[in-house]
C-alpha cells in the first residue's frame, strides 16, 4: 500500500470520527431540549388543571360562606395571574401566590362545619390535593431535565456544538423568594 493511501485513509477515519461525534452530540442536545420542552408542557398541563378546578371549588364554598368576598377576590386574582404566566419563573411565583390564597379559602371550612362535611367539597379538595401532588412531581421532573440540559451545554466539547446551535441555559421552575413570603394575617 502506498504511503499516500495510508495518510488518506487515516484522514478519512479521523474525519469520520469527528463528524459522527458532532452529529451524536447534536442529536443528544436536540433530545435533551425536547425533553425539557416536553416536561414543561406537563407542568403547564397540571397548572391549567389546578386553575380549572378553582371556579367549582369557589362556588361550593360560596354556598356556605357567601360573604367572605375578600378571600374569593384574592383567589380569583391569583388564578388570573397563574393563567397569565408564560415562563417557568412567572408561573412558579404565580403558583406560590395561589397556594396562599387557596390556603385561606380552604381554611374557611374550619369556621363552617357544614362546608367541611359537604361531600362535593371533600371531593374537590381531593382533586385539588391530587393536582398539587402532580405539579410537585412534574416540577421535579422538569427541574431534573433542565439540570441535565444546563450541565450538558456547559461541558466540553458539547458546549461548542451547543453554542453553534444557539442553546442557552434554561431557568428552573422555582418561585422567587418574594412569592414565598408568609401572607399577613390580620385579626
Amino acid at each position: 500500500m502506498k504511503k499516500s493511501t495510508i495518510v488518506l485513509i487515516s484522514i478519512a477515519v479521523i474525519l469520520l470520527i469527528l463528524v459522527t461525534s458532532v452529529v451524536g452530540k447534536y442529536n443528544q442536545l436536540v433530545e435533551l431540549e425536547n425533553s425539557v420542552d416536553g416536561r414543561w408542557a406537563q407542568v403547564e398541563n397540571q397548572l391549567q388543571r389546578r386553575a380549572d378546578l378553582i371556579p367549582n371549588l369557589v362556588n361550593t364554598v360560596k354556598g356556605y360562606a357567601g360573604h367572605e368576598e375578600k378571600v374569593f377576590a384574592d383567589v380569583a386574582d391569583a388564578r388570573a395571574r397563574l393563567l397569565g404566566a408564560n415562563n417557568p419563573a412567572d408561573a412558579a411565583s404565580a403558583n406560590a401566590g395561589l397556594d396562599s390564597a387557596l390556603g385561606r379559602l380552604l381554611a374557611l371550612s374550619e369556621s363552617y362545619p357544614e362546608l367541611k362535611a359537604d361531600s362535593s367539597f371533600i371531593r374537590l379538595q381531593d382533586e385539588l390535593a391530587g393536582t398539587e401532588n402532580r405539579i410537585a412531581t412534574e416540577r421535579m421532573r422538569f427541574n431534573e431535565a433542565v439540570q441535565t440540559w444546563n450541565a450538558t451545554i456547559r461541558k466540553f466539547p458539547t458546549n461548542i456544538v451547543a453554542n453553534f446551535m444557539g442553546g442557552q441555559a434554561k431557568s428552573y421552575f422555582e418561585a422567587a423568594p418574594s412569592a414565598q413570603e408568609v401572607p399577613q394575617v390580620q385579626f
Binding site: 493511501t5 488518506l8 485513509i9 484522514i11 478519512a12 474525519l15 469520520l16 463528524v19 459522527t20 452529529v23 451524536g24 442529536n27 443528544q28 433530545e31 406537563q42 397540571q46 361531600s119 371533600i122 371531593r123 374537590l124 379538595q125 381531593d126 382533586e127 390535593a129 391530587g130 393536582t131 401532588n133 402532580r134 405539579i135 410537585a136 412531581t137 412534574e138 427541574n143 431534573e144 439540570q147 444546563n150 450541565a151 441555559a169 428552573y172 422555582e174
Partner: protein
C-alpha cells in the same frame, strides 16, 4: 455576572442535595401484587386481595399493588408512594397501575397511574378511602380495610380494559446497534474500493444517524426478581388521594 454564577451553582447544590436525599431512601423490592412488609395482614385478606389483583391484571390489564410498611420516613407518605410506583413500574404499557400504600404509623396513600386517572378521579379515590378504608384502619383492622378498598376500586374499574404487558423493548436496542454496525461495515468496504478518493468517504458520516441512548424509565417486565415476574413498567405523576389516621 458573578452573582448569577453563584446563584446557579447554589441551585445546583440544592438540587444535588434533594436528589441525594431521595437516593438515600432505599425502596423495597416487590414480592408480588401484595407486599405486606409491615406484617399486619391476615392470611384470608391477603388471599382475597391477591385474587382481586390477579383478576384485574388478567382480564383488564390493570396492575394493582398493595403495600404495607411500618413507616415511610424520611420521605413523606405521598412522595414515598410516587417513588415506589415509578420504581416498581406498576401498570401496563398504558400506565394502568394503582398502588395502595398503607403506612402503619398512620397514613394511607393511593396513587393512580397516568392511564387510570381518567376513570378513577382523585375525588373518587378519596371517597373510597373515607368510606371503606379509614373506619377499619382506625380499629387496626388493616387487612379488612385493604380488602374493602381493593374491591371498591375493582368495582369502579369494571369494564375498563387496558393493554396487557408485552416484553418487546428488549430486542430493539440490539437491532439498532446491529444496523449501525452493518452501516459502518458497508461504508468501510465502499471506501476501500476507491483508494485515491477515500477521503471523500468522510462525508458519509454527515447523514443523520441517531444513536439510541439508554432507554429512560423502568424497563417493562424485569425478570430478575425471583418468583415474581415484575410489574409492566407503568408510570404515575402523583395522582390519587391520601389520608392520615
Amino acid at each position: 455576572m458573578n452573582k448569577r454564577r453563584f446563584m446557579i451553582s447554589a441551585l445546583f447544590f440544592i438540587l444535588f442535595l434533594i436528589t441525594s436525599t431521595y437516593a438515600q431512601a432505599a425502596l423495597p423490592k416487590p414480592q408480588g401484587f401484595v407486599n405486606d412488609f409491615a406484617l399486619v395482614m391476615d392470611g384470608k385478606s391477603k388471599a382475597q386481595v391477591m385474587l382481586i389483583a390477579e383478576k384485574l391484571q388478567k382480564e383488564q390489564g390493570i396492575e394493582l399493588a398493595i403495600v404495607t410498611v411500618p413507616q415511610t420516613s424520611p420521605l413523606d407518605p405521598k412522595t414515598y408512594a410516587t417513588q415506589l410506583f415509578n420504581e416498581w413500574g406498576i401498570g401496563g404499557p398504558e400506565d394502568s397501575g394503582i398502588l395502595i400504600l398503607l403506612s402503619i404509623d398512620g397514613a394511607i396513600e393511593v396513587e393512580t397511574g397516568y392511564g387510570i386517572e381518567g376513570v378513577l378521579p382523585d375525588g373518587l379515590v378519596g371517597a373510597v378511602i373515607d368510606q371503606e378504608g379509614l373506619p377499619h384502619f382506625r380499629n387496626k383492622q388493616y387487612g379488612q380495610g385493604l380488602v374493602n378498598m381493593a374491591s371498591s376500586y375493582a368495582n369502579i374499574l369494571a369494564g375498563e380494559e387496558f393493554e396487557i404487558k408485552k416484553d418487546n423493548s428488549e430486542g430493539s436496542g440490539w437491532l439498532a446497534s446491529f444496523a449501525i454496525f452493518l452501516l459502518i461495515v458497508i461504508f468501510l468496504r465502499r471506501g476501500r474500493r476507491f483508494p485515491p478518493g477515500g477521503g471523500y468517504g468522510g462525508r458519509g458520516g454527515g447523514r443523520t444517524v441517531i444513536i439510541p441512548g439508554p432507554r429512560m424509565g423502568p424497563r417493562p417486565g424485569g425478570s430478575s426478581r425471583g418468583g415474581f415476574g415484575g410489574f409492566g413498567g407503568g408510570r404515575s405523576g402523583g395522582g390519587g388521594a391520601g389520608r392520615r389516621f
